[in-house]
């Protein structure tokens, strides 16, 4: 069952045309500006099934935040069909709000001067959660996200990592069926990032929450998501599983070999030696032209190999190469 369905979504923005020419023309343009239509999202279609965790990524200005805002009903599309949990986000925003949650990494939903618990209590009232249910839910989430000791602390005294854990608890409080995460780990240190990613993944797995995540951090994508949608300049570039992305879009692999012989005479022209020292060699293989198996077979046939490792490029490099296409 699809919880998110997007068909031919378009969103255009009007931007003023910059003034050129004489002072009179510039003055005229200043007083009576003319506008041009810029497509922020240009005819994208995709769907997301219940419980899926999807990374929605792209370079800055690709249109991912705009799409997210349309999906949550904050912004109206210029054209296209959007259904979230069977409802139209813009028209049914208030009804849908009970079933969706969101975390915007660069913003806070917690009251700055008040203890975390006060905001959570307010959110319980906003989402019409009965008191008994709220207390049980808070206890469960606080223990899972390890924020019990933070509940009575004013938000201003929390570290960014602590605050973000509280933000995520706030978003999970009303058991949303769909959770939109906009750069939830931005600005966090490595440890805090790792904790947040694990918690999001585990929590969504346990409750079957559908997650749509945007992030520039590929580790967020690898740890939290199973599927990747890439958009650029408002157009869909790729929609595939994370595994397929890694398998189908890797063009180069690096082979590191420890040998008994001091050196080797390399013969494959489709490969490049990127590092060489006595008893050791590092080779880059263009897998579109030559299989790694052939290179390994050739090595084992001719040399005594003491150790061997094959590495693919990091996800970041794969995504970067897709952006460049």
């Amino acid at each position: 069952m699809h919880v998110i369905e997007v068909e031919n979504l378009k969103k255009n923005f009007l931007t003023p045309i910059p003034a050129k020419g004489s002072i009179q023309q510039r003055l005229k343009n200043y007083l009576f500006p003319r506008y041009q239509t810029i497509p922020a999202v240009n005819d994208i279609s995709f769907s997301v099934s219940a419980g899926e965790r999807v990374a929605f990524i792209g370079p800055n200005g690709a249109g991912k935040s705009t799409t997210l805002k349309i999906l949550t009903g904050i912004m109206q599309p210029s054209s296209g069909q959007i259904r979230v949990l069977g409802k139209t986000p813009g028209a049914d925003r208030n009804v849908l709000a009970y079933q969706i949650g969101a975390v915007f990494g660069q913003r806070s939903q917690l009251w700055y001067h008040l203890p975390v618990q006060e905001t959570l209590c307010l959110l319980a009232a906003i989402y019409d959660i009965p008191q008994a249910e709220y207390k049980r839910r808070l206890q469960e989430l606080a223990s899972k996200f390890e924020i019990t000791a933070l509940l009575n602390k004013p938000v201003r005294q929390l570290s960014l990592g602590e605050r973000m854990r509280c933000e995520i608890v706030a978003s999970f409080l009303h058991k949303p069926r769909v959770l939109f995460l906009d750069e939830p780990t931005i600005g966090l240190d490595i440890t805090a990032k790792a904790i947040i990613r694990d918690l999001i993944r585990v929590q969504s797995e346990e409750e079957g929450t559908t997650v749509l995540l945007t992030s520039h951090d590929t580790d967020d994508i690898e740890i939290v998501c199973d599927r990747v949608i890439i958009i650029d300049r408002g157009t869909l570039l790729l929609d595939d599983t994370l595994q397929n992305l890694k398998t189908n879009y890797i063009r180069k692999k690096v082979l590191t070999v420890a040998l008994e012989a001091e050196s080797i005479d390399w013969v494959f022209k489709e490969t490049t030696v990127i590092e060489r020292s006595p008893h050791h060699i590092k080779i880059e293989i263009d897998v579109t032209k030559l299989g790694v198996d052939r290179v390994v077979a050739k090595l084992l046939e001719n040399y005594v190999v003491k150790d061997l490792s094959i590495e693919g490029p990091p996800l970041e490099t794969i995504i970067q190469s897709l952006y460049k296409r």
Binding site: N94, G101, R107, L114, I126
Partner: protein, 250 residues
């Protein structure tokens, strides 16, 4: 309804939690009134004039800064969080403002009574006058806050609202009779002032509390009319805003 009451509750708590701002506001009120008292004292003002000043300052400083809050929400994109929730953004912001007003209004009324009595040695009117005057004062502050919401919404189009806020404050001083009561104005100017909402924000409650004879129901009708007009404009503007909404900040 519970969600809006919780909004008021958390706003009241926020007022007390921000101790510096809380104490600062009391200090500001006392300083401003005492400063003007010294100026007025030099021209031998009557106790009623001192009370008028203390009351109008109390009302002005009791308002919630919703214009800037709404403007910040729009400019920072924070409004997105509110729009994702099952509650009306403006209703919620109004309740939030109501919580701030409740605390400021009660605390500054106590200061007004204490300082006014300390400076003049008398309290005008009866207990009933003060009960009625407090209610009217509260309604006046609400009207001013609603006007602030309208200004805040303008930031959907003009982004920076400082100039409009400044104009509004100046208009309040001039047309609301902050320092000089409207009786001192010429007939034409007074007519113009009463064509704006400002007299209902300051002049009406201050007149009532200083014991001047005014037609209570006629002025109450004026207040109600302005509330309806402002609420209708806000509703219309907000609907326009939602249609053309572009959340700022990525």
């Amino acid at each position: 309804m519970n969600k809006y009451l919780s909004g008021i509750h958390i706003s009241v708590q926020q007022q007390f939690a921000n101790r510096g701002l809380f104490v600062g506001r009391i200090f500001l009120y006392l300083s401003v009134v005492y400063l003007f008292y010294q100026v007025f004292h030099a021209v031998s003002a009557t106790p009623e004039r001192i009370w008028y000043l203390a009351i109008t300052e109390w009302l002005i400083l009791s308002t919630a800064p919703l214009a800037f809050q709404i403007c910040d929400d729009i400019k920072s994109g924070q409004i997105a969080y509110f729009m994702l929730r099952p509650l009306g953004y403006l209703s919620y912001r109004f309740c939030d403002g109501l919580g701030s007003i409740l605390v400021r209004f009660v605390v500054l009324e106590a200061c007004c009574l204490g300082l006014g009595y300390g400076l003049t040695g008398m309290i005008p009117g009866s207990l009933l006058t003060w009960l009625l005057g407090s209610l009217v004062g509260f309604l006046a502050v609400i009207l001013y806050t609603v006007l602030g919401m309208l200004i805040g919404l303008l930031s959907f189009w003009i982004r920076e609202i400082q100039t409009v806020v400044y104009l509004n404050l100046t208009a309040t001083f001039c047309f609301g009779g902050l320092i000089v009561p409207l009786e001192f104005y010429s007939e034409t100017l007074r007519f113009f002032c009463f064509s704006t909402p400002y007299p209902w924000i300051l002049w009406w409650p201050a007149q009532l509390l200083t014991g001047a004879k005014i037609n209570f129901f006629a002025t109450f009708l004026g207040w109600g009319t302005w509330m309806v007009i402002l609420c209708l404009i806000i509703h219309f503007l907000y609907q326009k805003c939602l249609q053309a909404f572009v959340a700022e900040g990525g």
